[in-house]
Structures are given as C-alpha cells and as structure tokens.
C-alpha cells in the first residue's frame, strides 16, 4: 500500500457498508456501478436463456418445442431485453459509472444524486417491463408499425418501460458529459485522458441526443394505440415508414451506444498486456467522436427494403460506408499496438483479441449489408442475424466480459481463477462461432429470420447452430460461476496486478469511498509502457 505517510484517513473500502438500504440510497458512483452491473447481468442471463429456448425450437424444422406464437413472443423478449436492458446500459452505465471518476481523478460524478435517480428510473423501467412479461408483446424488439399499432398483445406496457429506460439513459449521459468536462483532476488534459473516457464521452453524447427521439416515437406509438392518433396509420393518412425513420434515428446511434464503450475497453486492455504505448492515441480518441457523429447520418440503411425512396437509399448506402473508416482506424491501431509487444495472454486480453477478430467479421459483413444491392437480397435473412450478433456478442459482449475480467480485482478486491477463466473464454469463443457462423450461410441461401419453422434443407446448419449455442451457454455459465466464486473464495487482489499506469490502479483495491486520498496531479498520459523509469507500485 502506498499510503504510509497518511495518518488522518483510515482506508475503508467502498464495499464495506452493509445492508440493502445503504445500497439503494447510495450516491457512490462505484456502488451505483455495481447496482447496474447486477441488473444488466440479470437481464443478460434471462435473455440468454430465452435465446437458448429459441435455438432448441430451431433444432428441428418443425414447430415442436414451442408454438409459432410463443416463438414470436420469445424473440421479442430476447431482443428487447438484450438491447434495452443489457447492451445499452451494460458497459455504458455499469463500467462508465465505476471507471469515469476513477480514471479522471475525481471523487465522484458531477451530480451524484442525479446518478442515483438514473438508477431508480432504470429500476422503474425494469419493473414495468417485468409486469409486461405477463402479457408479452409479439412485435419484435423494433415495435414496427403498422403491426405494433394493431396487434392484440400488450405493446403499450413494454414500450412504456422502454420509454422510462430512455430517461435513465439520457440522465446518465448528461451526468457523464458534465463529469468529463468539469471534474478532471489537475493536469488531466484532454489528450491525457484514458481512451475509455473518450469512448464514454462519445457514447454519452449519443445517449443524450438520440434517445429523446425514440422517446417521442414510442410516445406516438402509445398515442396511436390509445388515442387513435394516426401518424403511422396509412388509413388515416399516416405513414408506417415514418415510424421506422424515427425509430432508427435513435436505434442506429444506439448501436454505437452499445459498441463504442466496448472499443474503449479494448483500448485500455491491449496496451497493458502488450506492455507498449497505445499506437495512434489521437486517432483512436477522435475516431470515437467520429463514429458517434457519423452514426447520426446512416439510420435509413435499416430500411432499404421498407419502401423508402431510391434517392434516400442511395444516399444512406453511401454514407454507411463512411462508418467503416473510423472503425477500421481503431482496428488498425490496436493491431499496431500488438505488433512486437510482449503480449501476456491474460483472460481479459483473450477477450480483447476475441473482440478484434469477431468484431472485424461483424463490421465487414455490415459493409455488405450497407451496400444497397446486396442488402436487397440479404435483408431480413439470417445473414443480418449473424452480422448483428457478431457485432453485439463478438463486439459488445466480448468487451463486457473483457472489462469484467480486467477490472474485477479493482472493483471487488478479489482475484478469480485464471485457468477457469481461460477455459470459459475458449468455450465462449468456440461456441459463439459455431452458433453464428453457419447463420451467414443460412442467410445467403435465403433463410428468413423470425420463423419458428424452416425447410428441411437447412436442418444441418440450423442444428449445428443450436449445438453451438449450447457450448456458448456452457461457457457463459462457467464464467459466471468462476466470477461469483472468486467473490467468496478468491485471493485478495493487489493494488495493481497488471502494472497499469492508469489512475484507477494507483489506489487500493477495492477503492476507498472517495477514491483518492488526495486528488492526484496528472503529469503524463496513461500509456507510457516500456519506458525504463517505470517501476510498478
């Protein structure tokens, strides 16, 4: 421990205080981070189990495990829980809360009470959606009109839940932007910020300015069902495609709310385990902002076959290719950082490498889909499903798991079993590819998504995909058990197990209540690895 000279303050880890109320009324960003972490993990596991049920149904061509209607309900739940309850708040809110103040050298976020308020709003949203589970909707997670305006299932409740969640997301984003602007420690200039902070900043801007659009869209959908407003109803002169325009104006940037924090995580993990300074710091930092900015210009590539005009489709198809540029910049810089590094294959590093590999596949197939001509053929097939999961699991979830393993010692002050973690990574990686790679072939062969049954010719690939999902599920199970076991039986974690230079590793694990004994004065960027003078704390 480094605090030998300090007499006044006794080190009390932030986890010390017990009792449920001390959690529910906490304004400590680290505890709020844990609350988010528990909530999103819960929904991740629920939605994951739902996915396994769907894959079991798809093991055979006929509908034998669940009825087609139940299948519709299942994919709606899987999609909406994963997207709105796990991936969007996942990294951004849980790790964002935990890491942002630590990394910039602050004692907390700018508005601690508002931060707690965001979490309560998130809880309220989850409660509404859990009630909605008793009468689940069957619209798919996108709630497309006109079907969502006419189906007999209860759409209002689940959209209301998502609407409430949006508020939580907006307030979190607002809090983080102000925190990053105003709370940086002395000497922590913009170009000394860890890249995760740059990523969080870009994400927060998206949360702040894109989310209200989906808010009003869902509100209009609710008004459509309850008041008979006709914006999306052709019979009343409305336009169903307008719903899609609005929906994707949010939901495309939302894809980057999901992925940009994961990119930030990867940018933190790779230099530490390569023992090299990150290559192209500014390029990575500004490409985060670039991705966020461009993401507002590409929404209609989700709608090429929805009846939008050819002019609009051509413009959006062109703009979509632009997203590939900042994304590729990141991938090249990570690879360049790895080059000639002394790489240590820690489990977090394995997840990071998995991210680069899988996300590259996901990203490139996204370019195929962004190409207007190819998309006409591939739209709404399993190709889209595969692409989406390569980006979301191969990208965000890999980043999430990587972050979990990387910051676990700091967060909980314990170590997990590294060998088991590596085994779990292996199963996740293999299981994921066995599950989703065949779906590219299924898609190209024309298998449409969202059907409970399929022609027999697809059976071999479909059942292969199902077997893969079992491997993936087993991997996630082992990982979960390993991490939970570490909490109770793990060894005590040292302050800085990886010799990282970032601020959060320069304080005890787990951090004390107010993070820093004294607010640090920052003199350098956090990636100066491989210098002679560097001595680990």
């Amino acid at each position: 421990m480094a605090n030998h000279a300090v007499a006044t303050n006794v080190y009390v880890p932030f986890l010390e205080k017990k009792g449920i109320l001390s959690w529910l009324y906490t304004t400590d960003h680290k505890r709020i981070g844990i609350l988010y972490l528990i909530s999103v993990s819960f929904f991740f596991l629920i939605a994951g189990i739902i996915a396994l049920l769907m894959r079991i149904e798809l093991l055979t061509p006929v509908s034998d495990f669940v009825s087609p209607h139940t299948y519709n309900v299942l994919f709606t739940l899987h999609g909406s829980l994963m997207v709105f309850f796990f991936i969007i708040p996942g990294l951004a809110a849980s790790f964002g809360n935990f890491l942002i103040p630590l990394m910039i050298g602050a004692r907390d976020v700018a508005f601690p009470k508002l931060n707690l308020g965001s979490y309560w709003i998130y809880l309220l949203g989850t409660v509404i959606v859990l009630i909605a589970l008793f009468q689940p909707a069957d619209t798919g997670w996108t709630f497309y009109t006109p079907y969502s305006a006419t189906t007999d299932t209860d759409v209002i409740l689940i959209t209301l839940g998502v609407f409430v969640l949006g508020f939580s997301s907006i307030l979190t984003g607002l809090n983080f932007i102000v925190t990053i602007h105003k709370m940086r420690a002395p000497g922590m200039t913009w170009h000394r910020l860890p890249l995760f902070i740059w990523a969080s900043y870009a994400t927060a801007v998206l949360q702040l300015l894109a989310t209200p659009v989906v808010g009003i869209t869902l509100l209009l959908l609710i008004a459509e069902r309850s008041l008979g407003v006709g914006f999306f109803d052709p019979a009343k002169g409305g336009d169903p495609v307008l719903f899609q325009n609005f929906f994707w104006f949010y939901s495309h940037p939302a894809v980057y709310i999901m992925i940009i924090p994961a990119m930030g995580v990867i940018s933190e993990i790779i230099p530490v385990f390569s023992r090299k300074p990150i290559f192209g710091y500014k390029a990575i930092a500004y490409s985060s902002l670039g991705i966020a900015f461009i993401s507002f210009f590409v929404w209609a590539h989700h709608m090429f076959t929805a009846g939008i005009s050819e002019v609009a489709a051509t413009i959006f198809s062109f703009l979509t290719f632009l997203v590939a540029i900042p994304t590729a910049i990141k991938v090249f810089n990570w690879t360049a950082t790895l080059y000639k590094g002394s790489i240590e294959l820690h489990s977090a590093m394995l997840y990071a490498l998995g991210f680069i590999f899988l996300f590259t596949i996901g990203g490139l197939t996204g370019v195929f889909l962004g190409a207007l001509a190819a998309d006409i053929h591939l739209h709404d097939t399993y190709f889209v499903v595969a692409h989406m999961h390569y980006v979301m699991i191969g990208g965000t979830v890999m980043g999430f798991f990587g972050a979990l393993h990387f910051w676990y010692p700091k967060w909980f002050g314990k170590m997990f079993n590294e060998a088991v973690a590596k085994l779990a990574w292996f199963l996740v990686f293999v299981g994921f590819n066995v599950t989703f790679f065949p779906q590219f072939f299924l898609g190209v062969q024309g298998m449409p998504r969202r059907y409970a049954t399929y022609p027999e010719e697809f059976e071999s690939l479909m059942s292969l995909s199902t077997y893969g999902s079992w491997i993936l599920g087993l991997g996630v199970l082992i990982m979960t058990v390993n991490l939970i076991n570490g909490l109770f039986n793990g060894e005590k974690a040292p302050q800085n197990p990886y010799g990282s230079l970032s601020l959060e590793w320069q304080i005890p694990s787990p951090p004390p209540h107010e993070n820093f004994e004294e607010i640090p004065h920052v003199t350098d960027w956090p990636y100066g690895y491989g210098k002679k003078k560097e001595v680990d704390a």
Binding site: T26, T27, D28, R107, D108, A110, F111, P112, K113, L114, I170, L174, N175, I177, V178, H181, K182, M183, L208, L209, A210, T211, P212, V213, G215, I216, T217, L219, L220, A223, L227, G228, V229, G230, F231, K236, G237, G238, D239, L242, F246, H513, E514
Partner: protein
C-alpha cells in the same frame, strides 16, 4: 440542482464555481434533449404539412387565433418576469425575486386556463386527437408542451417558496437560474408552435 453530498461530508463538497458551471452545463444538455424530444413532432409536422397542405390550410381555421396570440403574449411576458427574477436574486433582492417568480407562475397558470378553454371548445365541436392528422399533431404538440408547462409550474412553485424563505442569495442562486432556463425553453418551443399551428396551417 445538486447540493453538497451529506453521506460523507469531508472532502466531497465541490468547489462552488465548478458546481455552478457544472449545473448550468447540465441544464443546457437537458434542454438539448428536450429539443430532440419535440424534434420528432416537428419532423412529423414538416412531413404531413408538405403532404397535405390543403388539410392544414383548412383545418387550422378551427383553431382560435386570438387565444393563441393571447397565450403567446402571456408566455413571453412570463419569460420576461422570470429573467428579471433571476437577475434580482443575483443582486440579492430576495423579495422582489420571489414576487416575480410568483408572477411568472400566475402567467403559467393563465396559459393553462386559456388552453383549458381551447381544448374544451375543440371537444365541444367533436374534435379529438383522432379527428385528422392535423389535429393529431395539434393535440400531441400542444399536449406535450402543456405537460412541460405543468412541470414548469411545479418547479416555479418550489423555487418561489424557497426564494421566499431565503434559501438563495447573491452568492448562491443556481436553482433559480436553472428553473429560469427551463421556463425559457417552454416559451421558446411555444414561439414555434404558435405560428406553425395557429397562423399558417
């Protein structure tokens, strides 16, 4: 908006300057969010107006231009009183500020009353949100705006009481300023709603 954290009082208080500028930046970010929230409705308006110009031209005649104009004047006046209230508290004139906030609040209530009669007249003519696209827009836009007025009224009420009781002074008046910003935004949105719905149809 945020007071010093009481859970662990030592060392967590922010520098008042930082807290002040943080709160204000936070409020501006929130206003940006509000603009995007109304943005969806403005976009819908643009599309449907371009699509059905005759419908808009014809049906906007049903709206009461005078009432709309009166409400515009009321809101603009309330913005004036609020702006002065903020400056007054910054100069330490507590009573003057409280009274001006009260005037703002009364204007807000007046706006609500006029709107109440307007809505009542529409319902009496059997005009509802599902009557036509134009009235869907009318009710959604003014309804969402009205919701913001209501929230504003609650905020103003709290601010007035606190100002009256002397919570704020020339050194600390951040909440009044933030409440003012919010109220001005409500005015600002109405400045667009009024011509779009009442005047040009």
């Amino acid at each position: 908006m945020e007071q010093a954290n009481t859970e662990h009082s030592h060392g967590l208080e922010m520098d008042p300057q930082v807290e002040y500028s943080s709160s204000k930046l936070g409020m501006w970010l929130f206003l940006g969010t509000e603009i995007m929230l109304f943005g969806g409705l403005f976009a819908a308006y643009a599309i449907f107006r371009a699509k059905y110009p005759e419908m808009f031209l014809e049906q906007h005649q049903e709206l009461n231009r005078e009432m709309g104009a009166i409400n515009t004047c009321i809101l603009i006046f309330s913005s004036l009183t609020m702006a002065i209230a903020v400056t007054a508290i910054q100069k330490g004139k507590r009573m003057m500020s409280a009274i001006l906030i009260l005037v703002t609040l009364i204007c807000g209530l007046g706006f609500g009353v006029v709107k109440y009669f307007e809505y009542g007249a529409k319902f009496a003519h059997h005009i509802y949100p599902d009557t036509s696209i134009f009235f869907s827009l009318y009710f959604m836009m003014t309804g969402l705006h009205m919701l913001h007025v209501f929230i504003g009224l609650i905020v103003l009420g709290v601010l007035m009481v606190l100002t009256w009781k002397g919570t704020f002074n020339e050194k600390y008046s951040t909440p009044v300023e933030l409440g003012g910003l919010y109220w001005h935004l409500v005015d600002l949105i109405w400045i667009y709603l009024f011509p779009l719905l009442y005047l040009i149809g």
